[in-house]
Every structure is written in C-alpha cells, then in structure tokens.
Amino acid sequence: MSPLPADVAELIGKVQYEETGDFPVERGYIWTSAASVENGNPLFWDDAVADEITGGPIAPPTMLSTWFRPHHWAPGRTTQALPLQVHFDMKERFELPEAVMSDNSLTFYEPVRPGDVLSTRQVLRSVSDEKTTKLGTGRFWDIDVEYRNQRGDLVGVESWTGFGYRR
C-alpha cells in the first residue's frame, strides 16, 4: 500500500466537525419515517405503549443521522451545507466527482426522545489505495460519527464506508 498524502494522513483519527443539530428531535419526522417504511411498531404510534415500555415516546433508533442532515436552505447561507462533511472533503481532496456509500454500521445506546437536541462529531478512520470497481476508479474511506444528547449521553455511533470515484 502506498502512503497517504500527508494532509490526509494527519486527519486519520482526528475529531472534526463537532456540531449541534439544526433542530430538536420531533415527532413529525418520527411519524414520517415510520410511515415511509410502514413501520407499525406501537412505540412510535401509541403513547400508552411507549410510556409502559420506553418511559415515553422515542425515535426509531435508525433515525440517528436524520437529525443531522442540514436544512436544504437557510437564511443567510450562501453555500449548500453538506451532511457527513468528511465524506465530501475526501471527494474534493482526491478530485473524485462521484461517490456512493457501500457499508453502514450503527450501534445504539440511550434512546433518542422528542425534544432531545443531539450533537455529533466525525472521525476519519481510514482511506484506501486507489481501486477499480464496476462503478469506476477511486478510493474507499471509513468515517465514524458519534452522537450524544444534550446531557452528554452517548446515543449512537454510526460508521460509514464511502467510495469516491470517477467513471
């Protein structure tokens, strides 16, 4: 394996993009998400069940990343904000115009509840040598995203493998 460019190697393991979500966790999105996959789990639809089992309403655990995708537009913003910025940084750094996500792993800790304000931080874990797949030629990278609630409790860790490429 050839060594990574020094500026990229320096980023491996470094905490980046610590930020707080644009808005509190809210039930409208919880219901829209459950509806999108026809998820009838009563934890999301029946408050009596949620009170009994989870001590009140919770969000589907797999919604973790939803709470951090920026608004498509916001007053005063001149450039489009991008979620998972490290992924887009790698695309730009290696001048790879296209990208897909290949692997996603999620670990769930404390439940996320309506009204929570979550914060997140991103860590680049690895970047591969150049590889060629059926999509094109480019590089794979692994990124961890850690999520905490307003009390500092860890609510989840998400790991992504992205592949940036040119066709």
Partner: protein
C-alpha cells in the same frame, strides 16, 4: 401479539419473509423522511445521467429504517436493536419488489444478563441480493423483562 422471548428462538430460526413493491413514491418518501435531499433519490435525470444507474434509488438511511421495521415486526416493541451493519451490493429502484428474509445466526446472554439474538437479513429483488444486514437485537428473557429498561453498564450492544 405475544412478545418474542429469547427462549423462543435458536440458531437457524427463520423470520417470515416481507415482500414490498417499490415505486417512485417509496424512494422519494424515504429520502425526504431521512432529510436526504441528494438528487439521485428524487431526480431521474440526475440518477441516470450523472450516477449512471437505471433510475432513482432507495437511500442508505431509509434502508436502515426498512431493516429496523423488518426486525421489530418480528420481535414486537420490547425488542431493542443494539447494532446493525449493512452492505449495499446493488440499488433498489421503482418497479422492484423487495423481498426481506432473515434468520437467527446465534443467541446469547451477555455478562450484564441481557439476552441477544443475532440475525442475518437479506433483501433480494428477483434472484439478485441487493443488501445484506447483520443485526443484533435484545430480546426479553421473560414476560416481565424489558431490554429498554437497561442503560449504562447494563446495556452493551
């Protein structure tokens, strides 16, 4: 529906399949529900001309939501997901019929006394495997056990 208890399952247990006909609304609703505004999930021309695929396709976070639904349809509300890892081998497009199948690959009780089932779930369209998912879900050990009551050192996903 009676909750699934850890004692009800063992390695090799198969979940009932779930079949779902995907259309453009499925894809767009899933993208918007996850606040994913990227055009390959709602813009046919972008998907085909820029991404080089046949149509718009279901985004990764919405696939996670589908897996969650499939697993908790089986466990009932006391089932608590601890971990999930999925690998997308191909995209799911409007017109596809997704078929989810799953099987228990192991069970255990961890050192905090929490019961776990490990699952392998597959999404196929026709004969083609589109996504595979390994999931680890906590199941009640008895009728009065509730994995959601666990936190801190008692929750080790």
């Amino acid at each position: 529906m009676s909750p699934v208890l850890l004692s009800d399952v063992k390695e090799g247990f198969e979940l009932d399949p779930l079949s779902y006909d995907v259309n453009a609304t499925t894809v767009v609703l899933g993208a918007l529900a996850t606040r994913d505004w990227r055009p390959q999930h709602h813009d046919y021309h972008f998907a085909t001309e820029r991404n080089g695929v046949q149509d718009i396709f279901i985004n990764a976070p919405n696939q996670a939501a589908w897996f969650e639904r499939y697993v908790t349809d089986w466990t009932g509300p006391r089932g608590r997901l601890g971990r999930m890892r999925f690998r997308m081998k191909g995209s799911v497009f409007p017109g596809d019929t997704m078929v989810f199948t799953g099987a228990v690959t192991g069970t255990e009780v961890d050192d905090a006394g929490c019961g776990w089932a490990d699952l392998e779930v597959t999404v196929k369209v026709g004969d083609e495997v589109k996504t595979t998912c390994s999931a680890r879900v906590a199941l009640p050990m008895s009728d009065d056990d509730n994995p959601w009551s666990r936190g801190g050192d008692r929750w080790k996903p």
